[in-house]
């Protein structure tokens, strides 16, 4: 599930904070963590700060980390042609995906190993990880590729340049 490839050249550098160190430590191992509620194991979006479940007593709404399968389905996507940040100028066009993880939360990620013209909502996807070669280049982060169900068709690994 890991890809020994550098991050996209010129990518903005992704830095950890103390609060999300577990996420990036897991990403470095090729594992995806998501935010979730320790009390009810309810998986939540990455920007969640609290579990909205009504049955928790007051103060028991804090979140922790849950392991995710790394599998999900395609909700939406876009091939980006105009670089939205100078760092992406050398990468356009590239394809971004809105992924619904099997656990429920949505993630936006780079989509690799797929022809954008053939994409449809519902496509099964699987996470791979971009590992910067040099720690100075920042943290590992997930990308997604079509999930091929058999060992004969392994998931394409992330490459140095995800653009087709």
């Amino acid at each position: 599930m890991t890809a020994p490839a550098p991050g996209p050249p010129g990518a903005p550098i992704l830095r950890r904070t103390p609060a999300d160190a577990p996420f990036f430590d897991a990403a470095a191992r090729g594992e995806l963590l998501i935010r979730g509620c320790p009390a009810c194991a309810y998986a939540l979006p990455m920007d969640a700060y609290a579990c909205p479940h009504p049955e928790h007593p007051p103060g028991a709404d804090g979140l922790g980390w849950l392991p995710a399968s790394g599998r999900g389905t395609l909700v939406s996507w876009s091939s980006v042609h105009r670089a939205p940040h100078p760092a992406f100028a050398g990468q356009v066009p590239y394809t971004i995906a809105l992924v619904e993880l099997d656990e429920g939360p949505w993630l936006e990620a780079r989509l690799v190993g797929a022809d954008p013209a053939g994409l449809r909502a519902g496509l099964r996807l699987r996470a791979a990880f971009v590992h910067p070669a040099d720690p100075a280049d920042g943290e590992s982060f997930p990308v997604f590729a079509p999930d091929h169900p058999t060992p004969d068709h392994p998931t394409p690994l992330a490459t140095g340049d995800p653009a087709p």
Binding site: L14, T17, S78
Partner: protein, 402 residues
């Protein structure tokens, strides 16, 4: 809807009595503060008020956050009873007018100026550069989406529009029909930044920004400022200008969570704000003679039409392609060209157009006559925040009475 008498109502509706618009577009050498001050001065003069008559000021800035409460000092406004910055992203204009209306009806203030101004354009820089950013990534998890190249609003609206297309079969050509019809209005608007007639082929040939959004699906970037003055209907009766009455308002903030079951891209806060505003006004969609819809993208217009109920969910593309939004159509929409073709002042563009139209201040080719009610929308975030206004030239205290 035309000629149909408004419902008699016991309530009072606050009044928009002044509108001030600066020169807008590629206007350089002036700050947001410069534009804002001019807009407030013009709005007060338009209302027949001195600046000293204002006792409230609501201020909204663009992404640069370069406009704040010190505008009051710069204008020499003293002893204000209401002074705040308002930010509901693209829903700000409608929200400001709502808060001003509530203030003047409650007696918290008598005359409140609401102003937005922005100056993101710089000489020699492309329009796109104005809103692009070279800031470093936010650290931690918030940086994940940016590291993936999901950066700025174009990419996120592209994801929203694509989801609608997948769910309902909406097409790029249907989005293009909105751009084409709004341009047909802009042709007759001397203040519009883009006035050359546009064809669907032009739209389809315009370069991709982020698929499925072409360049001509995206709004302009503009320098300029707009202000309105809100007062009580009693005070409005003493003023020279024809008032525009605020019959209804509503907001919708659905709080779509980024997870399974989300309505992201499919349904917006307009679905709550529109019916709330109509109910407050005591009217129905059939009473609406004109729409001024927040159009950061063509798609925003399409999904707002659906959420307001002008067609069934998923049929916004067919409605747009039917041609009824443009000149001569039965649902005149964004009659100055909107933010796609006239100028982008963050929801002040549709608000100002509604006020001008209801006062009869538009070129004959684009003046929509005999409109009892206009519906004005604001949209902010990635379809996360919505404001609706129902405006009318009819004084609600006497409307429908002999």
């Amino acid at each position: 809807m035309q000629g149909r008498p408004p419902r008699t109502d016991q309530g009072r509706a606050a009044a928009l009595v002044g509108l001030g618009e600066t020169e807008t577009g590629k206007v350089y050498g002036r700050t947001a503060r410069d534009f804002a001050a001019e807009a407030v001065r013009r709005a007060a003069a338009d209302a027949g008020l001195r600046l000293a008559d204002l006792d409230g000021l609501l201020v909204a800035s663009g992404l640069r956050h370069d406009l704040d409460l010190t505008l009051a000092n710069a204008l020499g406004l003293t002893d204000l009873r209401l002074l705040s910055q308002v930010n509901a992203f693209g829903a700000t204009a409608g929200a400001m007018v709502q808060y001003a209306a509530e203030a003047v009806l409650s007696g918290a203030a008598v005359a409140v100026a609401c102003v937005f101004a922005d100056a993101p354009l710089r000489p020699g820089k492309s329009t796109g550069v104005a809103y692009s950013t070279d800031r470093p990534l936010p650290p931690g998890l918030p940086g994940l989406r940016a590291a993936a190249g999901v950066f700025g609003v174009n990419t996120l609206y592209a994801l929203a529009a694509r989801r609608h297309m997948e769910a309902y079969g909406t097409t790029s050509e249907q989005l293009g029909a909105i751009a084409v019809q709004q341009r047909a209005w802009a042709v007759h608007n001397p203040r519009a930044q883009m006035r050359d007639p546009l064809t669907l082929a032009d739209h389809q040939a315009s370069r991709w920004i982020a698929e499925p959004l072409h360049l001509l699906d995206c709004c302009l970037v503009s320098n300029g400022g707009t202000a309105v003055i809100v007062t009580s209907p009693e005070r409005a009766a003493d003023l020279p200008a024809a008032p525009v009455y605020i019959w209804g308002y509503g907001q919708g903030h659905p709080g779509n969570r980024y997870m399974r079951g989300s309505d992201f891209g499919l349904r917006t806060g307009a679905a709550a704000a529109g019916p709330a505003a109509l109910a407050m006004a005591g009217i129905g969609l059939d009473d609406i003679g004109m729409l001024q819809l927040y159009d950061c993208y063509t798609f925003t217009v399409l999904v707002t039409l659906e959420d307001y109920g002008f067609c069934k969910k998923g049929e916004g593309g067919d409605l747009a392609a039917s041609g009824i939004l443009g000149p001569g159509g039965s649902l005149p929409t964004n009659t100055g060209g909107g933010q796609l073709s006239a100028s982008y002042l963050w929801g002040m563009t549709p608000l100002a157009e509604a006020v001008n139209q209801l006062r009869g201040r538009a070129e004959p080719e684009r003046l929509v006559r005999d409109v009892d009610f206009a519906m004005v929308s604001g949209n902010g975030g990635i379809l996360d925040h919505h404001s609706t206004l129902i405006l009318s030239g009819h004084d609600r205290r006497t409307a429908g009475r002999p």
